[in-house]
């Protein structure tokens, strides 16, 4: 019997399912960053708002990268539904802490995916995901750097204002 599945699909079916789950996570992450941007905008933290608008666009780009990869390789990508986006935050510090947790969770999910790829010998997807591994490392570094600023400059008054001014330069130079 011919291997029709392999003729039509370059990636493993289970990996396709996990990639679709990853699409959902990236979409949720993008929406979460939008909510954070909105909070910053309402609290006169313009630079932080711009930073999170940019983050939201980046997460959507990640989602689209996976989306196209699935379809380009003969699979079916599903447009994700996004729900349970939190809009309530106590402070900018809490926002950056939530952002770091979110990035860590995405990193873990990518690592699990790579682990599964190795299990089922899907080397094509493993190679594709290498870019995401490097990207996640940079994202985590950025968020960690922001939290370090809070230790340095405080979380209220002028310190917070000065911190907001430093946010545009927070990304690693190699990322720019």
């Amino acid at each position: 019997m011919k291997d029709l599945v392999r003729q039509k699909l370059s990636i493993h079916v289970e990996i396709m399912d996990l990639l679709n789950k990853q699409i959902e996570k990236e979409a949720h992450s993008s929406s979460a960053y939008l909510a954070m941007a909105s909070w910053c905008d309402h609290n006169a933290l313009a630079n932080s708002a711009d930073f999170f608008y940019e983050q939201a666009a980046e997460e959507r780009e990640h989602m689209m990268k996976i989306f196209r990869y699935i379809n380009d390789n003969g699979g079916t990508a599903y447009s994700p539904e996004v729900s349970n986006v939190n809009h309530d935050f106590k402070s900018l510090e809490e926002i950056f802490e939530t952002a770091l947790d979110q990035e860590i969770s995405i990193t873990k999910s990518i690592h699990n995916l790579v682990g599964k790829c190795r299990k089922v010998n899907d080397f094509t997807t493993e190679y594709f995901l290498q870019w995401f591994i490097a990207e996640q490392m940079e994202e985590e570094q950025t968020m960690r750097r922001a939290l370090e600023l809070f230790d340095l400059m405080g979380t209220e008054g002028l310190g917070l204002k000065l911190l907001d001014e430093r946010i545009p330069n927070i990304r690693n130079k190699s990322q720019k």
Binding site: M1, K2, L4, Q7, K8, G74, T76, Y78
Partner: protein, 104 residues
């Protein structure tokens, strides 16, 4: 045409010549491309069997449209349970075939 998997109500076949799949339902047989088979699998995966037993789906019916809305099916709870097993079994057989045909 070769049988891939058979469950209580359904049978799946692979046709090498036409490079497609067939599924035999109790009252008709339909032809599916691989893409359509994937879409069918997704629809079956999304069936929430718990809803059939906790009162959310009191009629116990699921309606699925297949192959770009060419076919319309209504399945009972019993058929849905069988359908889930059937899809898992069919894809397991496809994977097994893939392993057997891969040259080492």
């Amino acid at each position: 045409m070769k049988v891939l998997h058979q469950s209580q109500f359904f049978i799946s076949y692979q046709c090498d010549k036409q490079r497609c799949f067939f599924i035999e339902f109790p009252h008709k047989r339909i032809k599916l491309s691989f893409c359509q088979l994937l879409a069918f699998r997704q629809q079956v995966k999304e069936i929430d069997l718990n809803a059939h037993f906790n009162g959310q789906n009191p009629h116990g019916l699921e309606m699925l449209m297949l192959c770009n809305r060419q076919h319309f099916f209504v399945f009972s709870t019993l058929e849905c349970i069988d359908l889930k097993e059937f899809i898992t079994g069919s894809f397991a057989m496809l994977e097994l075939n893939s392993l057997l045909t891969t040259p080492f």
